[in-house]
């Protein structure tokens, strides 16, 4: 089970308005890996994660999740079990209380009326409580999500993932614009959760330091192509320099 391949892409490519954003990208990720995707702004990190999350379709190449083609797992419940997504703080429903945003991780298993009823009298409250305790937000259970700080919102998103329990977690810049202390807090929580639950994590990051500290493998992307892909400890400063190098000033 340990060396099972959960994500495999072959010659994946994507372009917007005729402009190639990802070209011929091949990689494979094994269960339990913690992969950081780094690279300059506009390199294609978000695009890659969107393709892996099946949010967008590639223009060319193949993608296999758990050995299956995406078309086979497009049913919402099945997909929710396989893949979970976490992004910057913007992705929670601001107007709902924390508990509902957490319980949203259960929507795939609930029918319509159960979910409607739950908006008034929350269902499976114990599960939500456990998850919120885990991320240290039990006392904010009934607070409106919009009132939380950025770091707290990020932790709510994690609580949702705890309920959803996907096999693969895809995170897009989960700690951008958090201060260093919160950022480390969030990253260490995220990576230890993934380790415990035997999940797999692929995350884009802006900070090289964090990538080295919390992840097992680093993929450097520049202009839609993989520049390097190796264990976190083996990445050299020269590689990093060429990754972020600016050719012209503007």
């Amino acid at each position: 089970m340990q060396s099972e391949t959960v994500i495999k892409t072959n010659q994946l490519s994507k372009s917007y308005d005729g402009k190639t954003v990802l070209s011929a990208l091949s990689l494979s990720v094994t269960r339990g890996e913690l992969v950081a995707v780094i690279g300059p702004s506009g390199a294609g990190k978000t695009t890659l994660l969107n393709l892996l999350a099946l949010i967008e379709d590639p223009d060319g190449g193949t993608l296999l999740i758990d050995g299956q083609a995406p078309s086979k797992i497009k049913g919402r419940k099945q997909r929710a079990k396989k893949i979970g997504v976490i992004r910057q703080q913007f992705d929670l429903v601001n107007e709902l209380a924390v508990i509902h945003n957490t319980l949203a991780g259960k929507l795939a298993e609930w029918g319509f009326f159960k979910s409607l009823f739950s908006l008034v009298f929350p269902r499976e409250k114990n599960l939500a409580k456990q998850a919120l305790t885990r991320v240290g937000l039990l006392d904010k259970m009934f607070t409106r999500t919009s009132k939380l700080s950025g770091g707290e919102q990020q932790r709510v998103a994690m609580a949702r993932l705890l309920l959803q329990k996907p096999e693969i977690i895809l995170a897009d810049e989960p700690v951008a614009s958090l201060d260093p202390a919160r950022a480390e807090d969030v990253l260490s929580m995220l990576t230890s959760l993934v380790r415990e639950e035997q999940q797999t994590l692929v995350s884009s990051l802006h900070s090289v330091d964090y990538a080295r500290k919390y992840f097992t493998r680093i993929i450097g992307i520049r202009k839609g192509q993989i520049l390097f892909d190796r264990p976190a400890s083996a990445v050299t400063d020269a590689e990093l320099k060429s990754l972020y190098e600016i050719k012209e000033l503007s």
Partner: protein, 543 residues
């Protein structure tokens, strides 16, 4: 205790919704539903109306008449808006307080100017028109001033609010770079509010065209005059022809306003599109003022004659009940009559907003283009687009027709009373509410919705967990805001027999009972004040 507050907070919205629904149901009991509400011939009239809808009178003579009266209506609307914009600009800046310094003084002057703006918009344009006609006579300026004042009030208030909401950081940075207050206005505030202000002004311009059309009710010409004549002759085919003219300009203005909005978003299109729009607006304004001063021979100075002054004084004396033995506002009997009517009018407004809201909720989902093309729910289908076109057309149609004209038609079908008034108000506001709320759904932030869908939510679950919580606060704001507008308009639909204070107002006008009118306007101002404060309170509570 803490827990109770939390759970109150938690269920606050639910409680508020229940409360509002309860008030609406209460208002329905004001109508005697057992009685037959429709005239014996109501159904027949409705059939005639529909029949002639399909065959409007397209004879060249009527079309020419339509074009020329559309011109008049447009000219009055443009001229009125010109003044309104000037007023709004001036008062708006002062009311926002961005120019004032000392805290106490600023508070006072803001309050003062906000008060003026509030008073300007509290009174409906038709009442202003009537007051001006009484003072200046039947000159185009009566219509223009009548439009300029309430529209100046509402534009000024919105302008002030927008200025207040401008992010302060860029302004602070400008100040730090040494900019004076006026320079901050030029380089910071104006650029920030420009696009919102222009699109709101365009929306108001559309409303001003409708208001200008109904100025005929105090004897000023235009499309409304022709509509009224045709309705008096029960010539529905002609009625529809003029109605289509009205719809056509509303649609054109809507298209123009979209054009402008897009030109702000798209940089490449901006330089020439923006300039063309600006040039066109300038031409419209110049053309309208030329038309009014040259063709209609209205002269502004001519208004201020001694004769007009005498009339105005006479008129004000009448309103104040001078020389009357027992002015209406000093008589207990008149008060109790007026208060009963005030209550009816209040109920009419609640019923109207209730009907409009229900109709909006039933239609708004297919009316949002993001839902129609499936980009929000990731679910595509051709029927979405068909529904979209149909519902949007209904919205345009229902909002293009002024409340007053709806009332004139509805009164043929329903018996006089507050119900036809409520229906007429609901018909018009349903179109506006629908459009606004559909746009809210279109502007919704897609991130959270998409993420919910990624955690496995179905289409219907997306609605209750993602879309509804996100749009409800804005919907509530719009609904309450429309309610305020409806309250101001109740008096107008009463003019044509649709019940309430307005009907009494028309009677008193016909019989020249001026002190009765004072009493009615007073009651009406109370209603407007109540509506404004209640809606303000509810908006705060819902936050």
């Amino acid at each position: 205790m803490r827990k109770m507050i939390d759970s109150l907070q938690f269920h606050k919205k639910l409680l508020l919704t229940l409360l509002l629904s309860f008030i609406f149901i209460l208002s329905l009991t004001g109508v005697n539903w057992n009685e037959e509400l429709v005239h014996h011939g109501g159904a027949a009239t409705l059939a005639q109306l529909f029949e002639s809808l399909l065959q409007p009178d397209l004879s060249p003579q009527i079309l020419l008449l339509g074009i020329s009266s559309t011109g008049i209506t447009l000219a009055y609307a443009v001229a009125g808006m010109t003044l309104a914009i000037l007023l709004a600009f001036l008062f708006g800046i002062f009311a926002s307080g961005v120019l004032s310094d000392g805290k106490k003084l600023a508070f006072l002057s803001n309050g003062f100017f906000r008060g003026i703006l509030g008073f300007m918009r509290a009174i409906h344009e038709l009442i202003w028109a009537w007051l001006f006609v009484a003072a200046f006579g039947l000159t185009p300026f009566s219509a223009i001033f009548a439009l300029a004042i309430p529209y100046g009030g509402i534009l000024g208030k919105i302008f002030a609010d927008m200025l207040n909401d401008v992010p302060q950081k860029p302004i602070e940075a400008l100040k730090a770079a040494g900019a004076s207050k006026l320079q901050c206005l030029l380089y910071g505030y104006f650029p920030a509010v420009r696009s919102n202000m222009i699109s709101y002004t365009m929306y108001r311009f559309e409303c001003a065209i409708r208001s200008s059309a109904i100025m005929s009710f105090v004897g000023l010409g235009g499309l409304g005059y022709q509509l009224q004549l045709s309705l008096d002759d029960l010539n529905y085919s002609e009625v529809w022809t003029f109605m289509f003219f009205l719809i056509a300009i509303v649609v054109l203005v809507d298209l123009w306003s979209n054009q402008i909005r897009n030109s702000f978003l798209d940089d490449k299109a901006r330089p020439y599109q923006g300039k063309i729009s600006l040039l066109f607006a300038a031409l419209l304004m110049i053309g309208s003022w030329l038309f009014i001063t040259v063709v209609e021979k209205a002269s502004l100075i001519g208004l201020f004659t001694e004769k007009n002054l005498n009339h105005a004084v006479q008129f004000v004396r009448g309103l104040m009940g001078i020389g009357e033995e027992l002015p209406a506002f000093a008589s207990w009997e008149s008060w109790s009559d007026a208060l009963a009517l005030t209550f009816d009018t209040f109920m009419m407004s609640i019923m109207a907003i209730g009907f409009a809201t229900i109709a909006m909720f039933l239609t708004v989902i297919p009316a949002a283009s993001k839902i129609a093309n499936g980009s929000l729910t990731m679910n595509k289908g051709w029927y979405g687009r068909v529904f979209f076109v149909i519902v949007r057309s209904i919205y345009i149609f229902s909002r293009a027709v002024p409340e007053l004209v709806w009332a004139m038609i509805i009164i043929f079908i329903f018996k006089p009373g507050i119900l036809p008034g409520a229906i007429a108000l609901a018909l018009h506001n349903f179109g506006i509410l629908g459009k606004l709320c559909a746009e809210v759904i279109e502007d919704i932030d897609t991130g959270p919705i998409r993420n919910l869908s990624l955690s496995g939510a179905s289409r219907s679950q997306l609605f209750i967990y993602g879309i509804i919580p996100a749009v409800m606060p804005k919907f509530l704001t719009f609904i309450l805001y429309r309610w305020e507008v409806i309250m101001r308009t109740t008096i107008i639909v009463g003019f044509v027999g649709a019940g309430g204070l307005g009907q009494q107002f028309k009677m008193s006008m016909s019989y020249f009972h001026y002190s009765d009118i004072t009493l009615i306007i007073f009651c009406y101002l109370i209603l407007v004040f109540i509506a404004d404060s209640v809606s303000e309170l509810m908006r705060k509570a819902a936050k």
